[in-house]
């Protein structure tokens, strides 16, 4: 306890010097953690599709319709259903209509408004881990009232948890081409609100020139006018009957897959029209994306480590050398020379502890600011590892340098310097 006491005294009796060191350490931890958090955010896009990318197969994106084309949707679905020897994991995307009160324009209260609903196959849906502002991630099962659960981005319509939004399908009367009627198909109940500025799973990989996982996401903001609903598509009610707009599909070879089946499948998809990419190419592009991101962030990380090294060596050396005179006094008063090392360690431990606490607090606080999403920050266990490694590095240096300086110095030399 006495060593801790004198270590503590050393800190509080030189407040300015020690506050500067604490702030420097905290700053280094924050920069290091934010760099790692930025790196993490890239793998957040990659991870949900990682398992699928490890299979042989291809990624297919049907040619986009310039206008709504129900027949084309039906043909896409029929083609997908008729593929032989593959498992298809799909995105389902459709524009539906609603007259929900929050969307209504007071000038035209009876109008129906088109809204986009994105649903995902349950094999990937569960792996998305979108940050929620509140509520929970929607279940793949309909609730007791037969409603489909969904999460939504909060936009100017002020969508909130508990809102039940009726969706309709527009049906054109054969007799009267301009007479459109709306048939209610299901209600969506909002169970979670996606955080602002979140990259949400999108529908069309073709929009991404590099054709990697990043293309599967679109930035959703509360300032956007368009509504965005994500639901699980596992429910047959949602997929088979209504959400027919099939978008990017990940097609995985089954065990009995062979060249004959492959040729036939490729022919069917070719007739449908769209872009087909080998899964291995998609994985390669995505791996390259992750690697590029890592390479971009690497200099910052190395810089942080270099700063930690130089800063700590300087400050610990200055601190230990500055304290030697006092250590000589403790020795005169009955402290063993090797015990002054404990005082030095307590001193360093307190400074590093305060720096680490401040650094971690700063990082967490930053994570809750709007800037975190804007700079694509995502804290996870890698941050815990990095913080642990940095603190360990700080502690090791704080131990090694005083051991070297104090071990190389005889107390009698310090006392002689005084006389």
């Amino acid at each position: 306890m006495k060593y801790f006491r004198y270590g503590f005294f050393s800190v509080i009796k030189k407040p300015l010097f020690n506050i500067l060191i604490v702030l420097e350490l905290a700053g280094i931890l924050i920069v290091g953690n934010l760099t790692i958090a930025a790196s993490n955010s890239r793998s957040v896009y990659y991870d949900p599709l990682a398992e699928i990318m490890n299979h042989e197969g291809y990624v297919f994106t049907p040619q986009k319709n310039p206008n709504y084309d129900y027949d084309k949707d039906l043909r896409v679905k029929a083609t997908y259903d008729n593929l032989d020897g593959i498992t298809t994991v799909c995105n389902y995307y459709h524009t539906l209509y609603t007259n929900y009160e929050k969307f209504n324009n007071p000038m035209f209260p009876q109008d129906y408004y088109s809204k986009n609903v994105v649903a995902f196959d349950n094999r990937i849906y569960e792996k998305f881990n979108l940050p929620l502002e509140k509520g929970r991630w929607a279940s793949c099962q309909k609730n007791n009232s037969g409603q489909v659960e969904a999460v939504a981005i909060r936009n100017s319509d002020k969508i909130d948890i508990g809102d039940i939004i009726p969706f309709y399908q527009a049906v054109v009367n054969d007799d009267e081409p301009y007479d459109i009627r709306y048939e209610k198909i299901f209600d969506i109940v909002i169970v979670g609100i996606i955080a602002n500025n979140t990259y949400c799973p999108g529908v069309n990989i073709a929009i991404n020139q590099e054709q990697n996982v990043l293309g599967c996401y679109e930035l959703q903001m509360t300032s956007s006018d368009s509504s965005y609903f994500v639901a699980c598509g596992a429910d047959k009610h949602l997929i088979d009957d209504h959400l027919l707009g099939l978008s990017t599909a990940y097609m995985i070879y089954n065990e009995n897959y062979n060249e004959t089946k492959d040729s036939a499948n490729r022919e069917k998809l070719s007739m449908l029209g769209g872009s087909l990419m080998e899964m291995s190419t998609f994985k390669l592009n995505s791996d390259q994306y992750l690697y590029d991101q890592f390479i971009k962030l690497m200099p910052i990380l190395l810089g942080v480590f270099l700063i930690v090294l130089v800063e700590l060596i300087c400050s610990v050396t200055m601190n230990t050398r500055g304290q030697l005179k006092n250590y000589g006094i403790y020795f005169l008063c009955g402290c063993r020379w090797k015990d002054v090392l404990k005082i030095s360690l307590a001193n360093a431990g307190i400074i590093i502890g305060l720096g680490a606490l401040l650094g971690m607090t700063g990082t967490v606080i930053f994570e809750f600011t709007p800037y975190a999403k804007l700079f694509e920050q995502n804290l996870d266990f890698n941050n815990v590892y990095l913080t642990f490694i940095l603190i360990l590095l700080m502690l090791v240096l704080s131990i090694m340098i005083p051991i070297f300086i104090i071990g190389k110095t005889q107390p009698v030399e310090i006392i002689k310097e005084r006389t």
């Binding site: 030189k14 006094i329 009955g334 063993r336 006392i415 002689k416 005084r418």
Partner: protein
Amino acid sequence: MISIKSLTKTYNYKKSNAFTALTDVSLTVEDGEMLAIIGKSGAGKSTLLHIIGCIDTFEKGEYIIDDISVHKLSDKKLAKIRNEKVGIVMQDFALVEEYTVLENVKIPLYFAKKRKRSLNTLALSALEKVGIRDLAKKSVNKLSGGQKQRVAIARAIVNDPSFILADEPTGALDTKTSAEIIELFKSLNNDGKTVIIITHDPTVAESCKRQIEISDGKIT
């Protein structure tokens, strides 16, 4: 009692730049004595004081303090002697400048593992003895030279040691303050403490009951 027999101290022992600071020194200091060790600069006075204070080691000879042979004692036991048996006062006061007077005086008590509740009482009592109890909460760097030396003496006596060792205790003080400090040492000696003062000031030496002179590492 302190008993030194045929003590030799060599710096950089067994190295090419070895230098013998004390040669075959023998000295006995009885309990209750007030002794001045005088000599020119570099004669070996401070080296002898450092050895008596268990700050430094020696290669040959014998040093016994209160029936304890110091040669080859463990660091722990040497630290215990520095803490309990000797109180050391230096020319430059050897105080922690950032601490208050009370905090400085309490340092030996912490290393003596005294009960926390008694620390303030003991420290204030030591300050009372040197006449600066009212300065207890003042920061050391705001004190005069004479006041700082009193703090150093208070710290030296706070653990009630048998021996007070002072290395040029008046070297940084004016004549009037020097006289006051020497009176303080005399008073402590009258209270039964054994006082050993290193000095090259004849006035200080004359105020001690006994003087010995060191020249070229030998007692003359």
